[in-house]
């Protein structure tokens, strides 16, 4: 690993180098991810796709610094995440990562604005500025008229937009989304994917998403296909991608499509 890469401008925002992740569940050892290497440049909208148990969420957790690899190296925004302690990782996530989950996971006793302002509690910003930034983030996702509403009074789509605003509010380098459309109807799913695309287009954010949703192909720049903990390459990857297109998706917007992207490290659209 070169020093220039580790600190580097002009280097990918995310780089995984022969990463594996296994853990024990009872007496069994589960190999969730095997020898995975990839690079994602800054400002891309990328999807990890594959069947349940393929290792997508594990990969997402590693990229977002929620989990640490059992082997290999994870570099994000010039930081080798392996060497950070649990608390250092938490601080790093607060600065660099915005997270979106399938079930929104908003705090039901807080208003939309307070939910969005939650990550800013970890900063030194005064209360008024935290509130102001939260309102701006809500405006970006089109919910400026719902700032004082409780999550219970919001629709699923609106709750997911609040969650997106929460991910955006601390102006992170990277936004990661775990099945963001999994609990939404078709209209809201499209709107959410459009919003994530907008974060990439208008704010230059790098967005990494795990999804089963074939509609995502129309919004992302690049797709990585996984199966049984392995990043697919070559023919296997091509077949997986074709199956996805047949299921209702379309080729990703960027030149080269998904298939070339889902190859070995450094290859992408």
């Amino acid at each position: 690993m070169s020093e220039a890469y580790a600190t580097g401008a002009a280097s990918p925002l995310i780089r995984l180098d022969h990463v594996s992740r296994w853990y024990t569940r009872g007496v069994d050892e589960v190999h969730a991810l095997e020898d995975c290497s990839l690079e994602i440049p800054a400002g891309r909208f990328v999807a990890f796709m594959g069947p349940s148990g393929s290792g997508k969420s594990t990969l997402l957790n590693l990229v977002s610094g929620i989990d640490r690899p059992s082997a290999g190296e994870v570099w994000v925004a010039g930081q080798l995440l392996n060497e950070l302690s649990e608390d250092e990782l938490a601080a790093w996530r607060a600065r660099h990562v915005g997270l979106i989950f399938q079930f929104f996971n908003l705090v039901p006793v807080l208003s939309a604005r307070d939910n969005v302002a939650l990550p800013l509690l970890l900063t030194d910003l005064p209360r008024a500025e935290r509130q102001q930034r939260a309102e701006i983030a809500l405006r970006v996702v089109g919910l400026e008229h719902r700032v004082g509403h409780s999550p219970r009074t919001l629709s699923g789509g609106e709750q997911q937009r609040v969650a997106i605003a929460r991910a955006l509010v601390s102006d992170p380098d990277l936004i990661v989304a775990d099945e963001p459309t999994g609990d939404l109807d078709a209209r809201n799913a499209e709107a959410t994917l459009g919003l994530l695309r907008q974060l990439k287009e208008e704010f230059g954010k790098t967005v990494v998403m795990v999804t089963h949703d074939p509609r995502a192909l129309r919004f992302v720049d690049q797709v990585f296909h996984l199966d049984k903990g392995i990043l697919l390459e070559g023919e296997a990857e091509r077949r997986a991608h074709e199956a996805l297109v047949l299921a209702g998706g379309a080729a990703p917007a960027s030149a080269g499509g998904a298939a070339p992207a889902a190859s070995a490290a450094g290859r992408g659209a």
């Binding site: 938490a90 989950f101 039901p108 990550p119």
Partner: protein, 387 residues
Amino acid sequence: MSYLGLVLANLRRNRLRSLLTGGAIALAVLLVCILLTMPAGLDALLSRLSNNTRISVVNKAGLVYSMPYAFARKIRALPGVEDAVGQVWFGGAFEDDGKVTFPNFAVEVDHIETVYPDYGISPQGLADFRRYRDGMIVGRETMKKYGWKLGDRVTLRSTVWPANLDLRIVAEIPNDRSPIAWINREYLDQALKAKGRSLGILGIVWVKVTDPKEVNSVMLRIQELTRNSEAETSTQTEKSFFSAFFGSLEGFVTILMVVTVLVSLCIVFIAGNTASMAVRERAGEIAVLKAIGFRRGSIFSMLIAETVMLSFTAGAAGVGLARLLTELLRNAAAGSPQLGPLGGFIVNQAVVVQGLLLSLAIGVVAGVVPAFGAARKPVAQTLREVF
């Protein structure tokens, strides 16, 4: 929104549960505070009843055993003794009650004034007590109980001696909480002699010491005086005497304190269970907070702050209620001889501090395990379990 706002919002999340848990804590703290007033209340009661220069002398074998009458005279002659009054249990029952409903003793009338200067008995009453052999001094509580007044004549039938004495009330002990009555020892002695008996014994001698510093040496001298006699004696200060008399009550208080500690422990477990449930229900949210960058220390602090805040607020309410209750009791006791002694049980500053510390401890102990568990668990593992 701030950290405090987040903690308060979480407390409002399930209002009924917070209210019920807080109510249980408040009730437990109230109970503990009231019980904590008991040792100090009893002490105050004993202090009011007793005098620090008065000591009692009884037969070493026990209060029911007698001593020779001559002991009183010998004790009076000891250095450091201002005066001493010998008393014997008369055990008089009023009218047809058949039972002794108030303590009454035959006493040496000439020594009452010096031994009990703090009782506030009127000089005229004391003079009449010396003048009339059938005179009787009665505590105000008994006076009120039977509706007696000065000059009334009453007959007491002894349950111990073969004597029914006609007595006239010549003085009152002006203390609402005093039930005792004193009669003239010579009067009883004459009544017994008329029936061929004699009163040559004492049940107790109350000794007035000249100087509080002399109390211990006088007690030693009295014990030395009666050593190897037919009735060796035991001496103690008036406060110790009443303390021993109320010993069974103190034992009861000890039991109550033990029960209170157990109740407090139960409350800790209940509050702990509530905190665990709350943490379990919010596992997803806590995982998300950790995922977006909240450190383990912050998560731990927020969760422990919730239980401490609930417990402390509820405990403070319990302390306030206990104080209010004892104040009401004290006010009620001021006008009621029956409730009188209860007026001494006050939730003072020390009890307030102890009650608040207990509330704090309940919050910390109840919250520490679930908060630590939630904070310690790696975020990836929590997310895997929850989602």
